[in-house]
């Protein structure tokens, strides 16, 4: 058990080093950092001095070591575009993206799991067929079109909900939250639904497939023969056994949520990390791009660690095998 966690930790560290290396290579080799930081009127001596000060003349591995060390100490360098510390820029954007992503994931799970179970229990029903057809169309509609449709319907035609920004926010110890104001929740609904819909179809299809698989298994047949009430059969015996794959996709979906939050944030002008990343691509702001990658990778690794721990908590077989 402890060995299992340790192995995962070491793997995670390697992933982070690889991503940091990627970010460093971006910074070092895509364009020249010195020419990005200086203007046309900078003299050659000044450029040379800046190059020396930044340590760009040192050996590659020394530079990478310093880059990583700085990152570990919270120094992520400076943006080419705004000249501000990248750490501050990203930190200011993290709450918006995390709140959006979490609510979207919750929508995906709270709607996806029940509909998945339902469509598995009644595979030939009319409602099931309708839901399956809807999800097929839903998968084909790009995220940004779903966002536009929601804006058009609820923002423009009905005028019920705001179509951009975060609405009212509250500061809680440096964390800017929109979860504590009515206004903030109103602003959150459309982006979160937009982001959640695609993940929802994935959750639903997976739960359905797993559930149908489990329902065919021998132990469910025996349980049926023993006369266990259907409610307990479906929800205690069958659903519990679909939980391991479901937790796996939560981990995978987190990646999808982060990636598509770029699109959603762009449609709704949601001031999160995704919007910052887009701006940094447009202005070739390499330090911000690199740090965005590192931060995203960190969240990935963190979520996957939690998922691994949940496996052990859910599946007793893993506990017995322990270090397997």
């Amino acid at each position: 058990m402890a060995f299992f966690i340790l192995k995962r930790l070491i793997q995670s560290v390697f992933v982070m080093i690889a991503v940091a290396f990627l970010a460093f290579s971006l910074f070092r080799f895509v364009g020249d950092p010195v020419s990005q930081m200086t203007g046309v009127e900078t003299s050659a001596e000044d450029s040379a001095r800046l190059r020396e000060e930044l340590g760009l003349n040192d050996a590659f591995i020394v530079q990478f070591g310093r880059f990583t060390n700085n990152m570990l100490h919270g120094d992520f360098g400076y943006s080419y575009r705004t000249r501000q510390p990248v750490a501050d820029m990203i930190a200011a954007r993290i709450p918006a993206t995390l709140e959006l992503g979490t609510v979207a994931l919750l929508i995906s799970l709270l709607v996806g799991i029940p509909t998945g179970v339902y469509t598995a229990l009644r595979p030939r029903g009319f409602v099931t067929q309708a839901i399956l057809l809807t999800t097929l169309v839903g998968v084909s509609i790009p995220t940004f079109v779903i966002g536009i449709m929601l804006i058009f319907l609820f923002g423009v035609q009905l005028g019920w909900l705001p179509t951009f920004g975060r609405g009212g926010t509250v500061q809680i110890g440096g964390w800017t939250s929109s979860l504590f104001t009515f206004d903030g929740w109103r602003a959150l609904i459309l982006p979160a639904v937009t982001l959640g819909v695609y993940q929802l179809t994935l959750t639903m299809r997976l739960v359905r497939a797993e559930m149908m698989e489990v329902l065919r298994s021998d132990y469910i047949r025996f349980a049926t023969a023993r006369g266990i009430p259907y409610r307990s059969l479906y929800f205690r015996h069958a659903l519990a056994n679909t939980m391991v794959p479901v937790i796996t996709i939560i981990g995978l979906q987190f990646g999808g949520v982060i990636a598509f939050s770029i699109v959603t944030e762009s449609v709704f002008q949601w001031p999160g990390m995704g919007l910052l990343f887009l701006e940094s691509i447009r202005f070739v702001d390499i330090p911000v791009m690199g740090v965005y990658l590192v931060v995203i990778a960190f969240f990935f690794v963190l979520v996957n660690m939690i998922v691994d721990l949940l496996y052990v908590a859910i599946d007793p077989r893993l506990r017995v095998r322990g270090d397997g």
Partner: protein, 300 residues
Amino acid sequence: MLARLIKSEPVYLFFRSPAAMLAAIVAILVLGGAAFAPFLASTDPYDLSSFSLMDGLLPPLWEGGDPRFLLGTDDQGRDMVSAILFGARLSLTIGLMAMAVASVLGVGLGLAAGYFGGRFDAIVMRIADIQLALPAILTALLIDGISRGVLPPAIHQDLRVAVLTLAIALSLWVNFARTARASVFVERNKDYVQAAMIMGQHPLRVMLRHILPNIMGPLLVIMTVDLASAILLEATLSFLGIGLPADSPSLGTLIRIGMQFLLSGEWWILWVPTLFLVALVVSINVLGDFLRDVFNPRLR
């Protein structure tokens, strides 16, 4: 040959599936419209002299528009029918090219990985795993961002279509590689492959002449599904303003332009390209679903 094709199982199933037929009709219409856009479109949306500001913001015909413009015009006076035909032409070109590059790269690597196994297989699959953890859109954005940094702005402008195609292709090859590799593992131990190997045929020949034709089924499914993904990716990137610029509008760019009219009542500028894109992608996905069912008899 033709008689055999008509009597074959996929064709038989095709004519019994109304959804697949409808999807095929939509896809063929869009493909035809895109291919013959220069002949079908009344105006050339790239040629500023072919339309006039005087015709700007005309609604579609059934809302009291001008008979020359069936689906209305945008603020520049550009005919919407012409715009979506040329837009679809560009979107499909990029989508098909990206799909082609991704399939050649992915199938090639997958075949080789499955055939040779060992260290080569391990390396290819590790790269595939890493990329699979990154969603395609993030990969494509990143490649585009890097290309902006590496290439001088002027050259980058000229190479927009190529960069975009490559960015999309590099984010989609994994599917092909994994499918090809898995299929090769199944085929490799069959007698015909063993026989060809014992006869001392060149590995390349065994892979391309013997194995590849026998694993085309699943690859064809991936091709269809990935074509839809490629078109969606291009549309998304262009919508985000990272893809193609406004002077060569693909469907995604047209939608981005249309967003500006979301609040002002000229709904057709937004909805005409949007619905066109959705119809195209839905029909390709329905066809992909149909192919999957055909090639996977277990599901029938």
